[in-house]
Symmetry: C2
Subunit: 313 residues, 2 copies
Amino acid sequence: MARSALIAVGGNSLIGIGQRGTIEEQLSNAHATAKKITQLVADGWRVVVTHGNGPQVGAALLRSDRAAGEVYTQPLDVCVAVTQSEIGYLLERGLECELRRAGFYMPVMTILTQVRVNEDDPAFKNPTKPIGPFYSEREAEEKSRRFGWLMVEDAARGYRRVVPSPEPLEILEQEVIRQILDLGIIVIALGGGGIPVIVREDHTVVGVEAVIDKDRASALLAAALGIDCLIISTDVDQVYLNYRTSEQRGIKRATAELMQHYLDNGQFPPGSMGPKIEAAIRFLTNGGKEVVITSPDRVMEAIHGKAGTLITP
Amino acid sequence: MARSALIAVGGNSLIGIGQRGTIEEQLSNAHATAKKITQLVADGWRVVVTHGNGPQVGAALLRSDRAAGEVYTQPLDVCVAVTQSEIGYLLERGLECELRRAGFYMPVMTILTQVRVNEDDPAFKNPTKPIGPFYSEREAEEKSRRFGWLMVEDAARGYRRVVPSPEPLEILEQEVIRQILDLGIIVIALGGGGIPVIVREDHTVVGVEAVIDKDRASALLAAALGIDCLIISTDVDQVYLNYRTSEQRGIKRATAELMQHYLDNGQFPPGSMGPKIEAAIRFLTNGGKEVVITSPDRVMEAIHGKAGTLITP
């Protein structure tokens, strides 16, 4: 059986620095990502692709807001859903093209993915994740009054909604994804960390207005699928100690235990490298063999130990 | 092997008459549709669900338009893509709930679906399908000048964009869908008739600003999958001759040949029952065993010959 990798592509990776994020730009970036994934396939890996959706879900929320008087409004869970096929469509087009050009004819498919969360997750009492457009103070007060949104002030840029980021408990489609992988199909799933849902005892599936950390959900899916290597692609080429100080030093290889030690010592900031390291450790303590953290263009070198950060159990 | 059915759910079926189409309303309607599909499953059928997206893709185009100065614009093919996971999410939640309540635990999945069309399809020279919001004359002129859109005047309500409706040639994901059906999974696919794409010789996949007739694409998919029964759910309980005249008469059962005769005699208007009858005939001449045309609430009776219109080869 071929080795398997789950590559978690950053939400910003489809919108380059200085780009406005037109669909043409995003598609062009999707092709660049697809080329790297094609190299993984050529190297003999079976691949699951997951991806973030930060800029895209922000745009979806803004669109829904601006058209609110004219057409029905889309709550956050529906906005996450729409970004799954929006981004999945671009990645799938990129992959289908780049794979075929390299002589690979396996199918690629994008799967709507829901993630079960706990109604009693403490995150629901403490929303922390800023999302969507910026509002003036007056608009923020109105949103808060009309929709019960929690708004926070963002230095200089105005007010922004914050939503909960609950713990992912189970990828509802994980058994399906496992079976599809076994068919030799390349799967794009878990976009934006998945759509957070609560499954009630009467089997009702309730969508919730929250977002799930994409790397955390990816680690959970990778462990559930028995994936060998979790690849977290981000905007730095490797993980650094004393990041952006004169003492900055790259980590080439470390155990989960050592990374936990660095994490406990505040080396990795929350909201940035911190959740990625937590996700990596969780995957490795749940049976994963290795985690690679690197930038998209270094993935192949990192897989072969020539770049990036390799974390082992 | 269980008998297989593909049910094509109407685009308007998630938004009831007089409803504004809030997500709550659409979800409630999705549950009603899911109950009917659960009855099919209980009756021993393997099921593929396809669906239209008329009101939803119109809303997506309007949202993109209203936020155009602030975030990137979504072309029509991307708007079709986003409706696939938007509607798929609601149908999947409805199905997962209603199936479990009835004691069925098979997985349900929503698959992004692209449909190959021909770049030289005459439809591209003659766009006929009105789509998206209504514009004033001045706005229509501006859209036409800036984006090259073809605009037509709609009596009293203003101007509207018209887009091509090319012939679906191949469902790109059909082999994948076949394999997934064989795993006993209920598949939601081909939303809005599928995303129309052109596949170039260099393997580039190009999305096109067009829409594909949902029933026509469903007939193509059903034939490719070797489905036994194509169910076209619509807003009338059966097909009528001399519809809405004093001579109106329901058709309980007919052969494809007889329906072709009625079609040639102008019994079924284009843009409404006409394309459904054409799709039915096409499915039956490509190996399909039966087509049932009825309203969503009559599906089970129609399957057993007690309602609707049954068409055979």
